[in-house]
Amino acid sequence: MRKGPVMILLPCPWCGPREATEFAHVGEVSARPDPGSATPAQWRRYLYLRANPRGWTTENWYHRMGCRRFITVERHTETNEVRPAPAVTADAGPGERIP
């Protein structure tokens, strides 16, 4: 069996470390093209294509049973270890990277 935490704790900047069951998984962070100028092909790539890495990934979670804000974390998809994403200080919308 692979090593990794038994309980997954997510570092919520407002509530502290909380169990992953309090959160809704929003998914991989990807850059959204400008809806006004994106071609249909670009828009579909943004909608459908994912990196889905086996390893560290940057993703958004929604703290639905807590502060109800979106947070960004880095998680290892094989061990489920979690570490805070660099420079997480503000709300991240679904699918949008924090500047």
């Binding site: 692979r2 249909p40 889905n52 086996r54 998809t77």
Partner: protein, 432 residues
Amino acid sequence: MRMGTNGGLRKPGRNAYPAKYSAAGLFGRGLTSQPWPPAWQPRPMKDSYDVVIIGGGVHGLAAAYYLAANHGITDVAVLDKGYLGSGGSGRNTAILRSNYLTPEGVRFYDRSVKLYQRLATDLDYNVMFSQRGHLTLAHSDASLRTMRWRAEVNKVEGVESEVIGPAEVKRLAPFLDVSAAARYPVLGALWHPPGGIIRHDAVVWGYARGASAHGVHIHQNTEVTGIEVADGRVRAVATSNGRIATGAVLNATAGWCTVISDMAGVAMPVMTYPLQAAVTEPVKPFLSTVIVSGTLHVYISQTDRGELVFGASVDPFTSYSMRGSLEFIEGLAGHVLELMPALTKVRLLRQWAGLCDMTPDFSPIMGPTPVQGFFVDVGWGTYGFKAGPVSGEAMAQCIASGATPGIIGAFGLERFGEGELVGEKGAAAVGH
């Protein structure tokens, strides 16, 4: 292109098999204590093959078998990083059905059920297919509407399905709580008589045996570490046991489909989720159908040994981890007891997880890719096992002829760029 009604499945010659399985043979070997020959032959790995299939599960082995049996292409290697059937093929809940929502989906899965019906004869291997009927429960008006829709699409495609009321549900599954007092009352169900369960390991072993008898090489414990592509064509596959030169590679993996496709530089609209399942201690046979509840995210069947097998929806977040969780078991037990309160004292034997490659439209991705010679049979989400035979047959035809067979025409990778999705969420998943 139409698939032949008889599938063009030539039965391999009797002496091609290592041994002919029969009752008389069993009796004879019982008397003489003569051991059975191995079901498939281990052979040394060559440094080149016509076709390399990555993934030794039901999809990969079926494709290898049909390449050899239907198209005479026997210079084929099947690679698996573990043992045969160690991935999704040995972790699913072994349910077969064809009561899908889209005409493309219904035709495709119906072909698979028909192949499964005669698989034991085709492979000379007992796959223990039991067509005991499949009940999908409706707990809301919305799901009842979807079931009427599914029943009508099924009937048009010639697949037996009908919507039945709670009294009929009770008659088919007397242990179900269909009272109005239930937390989620059963309003009706989609009854699908051709559905059932099968021994999933036997399907894998049967295809491996059949493929090996035709000369296909099966290499277990061989992990693919890279795919060489030059001028837009596949040239070779790098493995943990050496390099294999080849012009055709089939990615038939589940869980690792993006990892393998990335090696060839093909981006996939796939996210990998674990799906957990559990099995109870054996009890007397009392459940003669497969029970599915989308609202309660659970499906239940009883094996020939008497164990109850429970499946569920995928975990709530993506992961390549196959570790089980306590939250899952708590939720699952609660949902099962909503349906069958009589099971309170039954103990769970074990739980496990498998990996599911989820696509945006809950349909698979099959066919060629922009890299010439790199074929995919992936994105099988939570519904891959039931499609093993038809996928193998269609992918074998695709690789042999270079043209995509009509039966999988709707499932190409290009549909995501063109926006032509095949939405099966209403019929493929229980987690919605």
